[in-house]
Amino acid sequence: MTEKKEEAPQEESSTFVRPPKKKDWRTISIRIGVIAGVTVLVCLFVFRPMVINGESMMPTYSSRGFTFAFLPYFKLYAPQRHQIVILKHAGFNTFLLKRVLAFSGETVEMRNGVLYVNGKALDEPYVKNGCDWNMSRREVPRGKIFVLGDNRSMPMHNHMGGMIDQSRLAGVPIW
């Protein structure tokens, strides 16, 4: 009985220091594979990492930054006015970060940098750089939304904004 009691701790310590057996490596590899696969799927279809490059959303987003896009958002919710959204530009690797300002059927107009939606001036506290943009009144066509960036310090023709197909809404930034 005494001999057996002495042997027990020796076995325990030896299991701690021994190198992994073949079976353990297989288990570890499978686990790593599963974790990597799940991570890739989550990054592709749920939380997609995005590098922000450009000044059109300053000062809300700096010209260089990083965020994750929550992709299933617009399968669950409709876009809201003033909401910052991520839009498919062309392909699956370039996206636009913009703010939704008007919806299909509404009229938009800009007078001396002030945006009018359905004839009423829109309060946009996030726009810090004033501008003198002018755009005649026009209706947002069916199936489209009207988006702009927060930085309007550049000439209007240098700003990528305006009407875009609602189907190009890809998701929302999570911060």
Binding site: L87, K88, H89, A90, G91, F92, T94, L96, K98, M135, R138, V147, P155, M156, H157, M160, G161, G162, M163, I164, D165, R168
Partner: protein, 182 residues
């Protein structure tokens, strides 16, 4: 050798099975279906439209590219490419293959480089004979003008292609900005 001594009917059956298997393999693995052919043709057209930054200074290369690009268009076509440049909206349009060639020949020297990537390609055939197809995709054009201005533009392409003279050719082509004020 005794094992190969088959009756005539069995030989016929064996040959029929081999031929059927070969036909099935060809059909499922090697045959290019019409959708693939249209997509391939579209990508080939883009390759001719692109311009490498280290191109020859001579415009001979441009002439060759323009002529080759023209072959992707039907003799009577309808091309409309609109956009904005320096505050001005413009529309490039062509109604014949010759106009496509000359328009591209004039446009090409204004660019130092041009590369185009196509994505989200959707092909729908307009009839059962698969002789006409509607093609939609998004295109990202990046490049540099001779003034040194870098550009990066996303366009939505909508085209109609027809099978003519043994090739898929554009009967119409529109390239509109993904996002625009109009």
């Amino acid at each position: 050798m005794d094992g190969l001594h088959l009756s005539r009917q069995k030989w016929f059956a064996l040959v029929a099975v081999i031929l059927a298997t070969a036909a099935a393999v060809w059909f499922f693995y090697f045959r290019t279906d019409d959708t693939t052919a249209v997509k391939k043709r579209l990508r080939e057209a883009v390759e001719f439209a692109e311009k490498q930054p280290k191109g020859s200074g001579l415009n001979l290369q441009g002439a060759g590219a323009a002529h080759a690009l023209g072959e992707f268009f039907s003799t009577k076509t309808d091309v409309s490419i609109s956009g904005e440049s320096r505050g001005q909206t413009y529309t490039l349009s062509a109604e014949t293959r010759a106009q496509v060639v000359s328009s591209y020949f004039m446009l090409r020297p204004l660019l130092t480089s041009l590369s185009v990537s196509l994505d989200e390609i959707r092909v729908e055939f307009l009839n059962d004979d698969h002789e006409a197809a509607s093609v939609n995709c998004s295109a990202m054009a990046t490049g540099m003008t001779q003034n040194g201005d870098f550009f990066r533009e996303g366009r939505l392409i909508s085209a109609e292609m027809i099978y003519e003279e043994g090739e898929w050719r554009f009967r119409s082509l529109r390239a509109d900005p993904v996002v625009s004020f109009d």
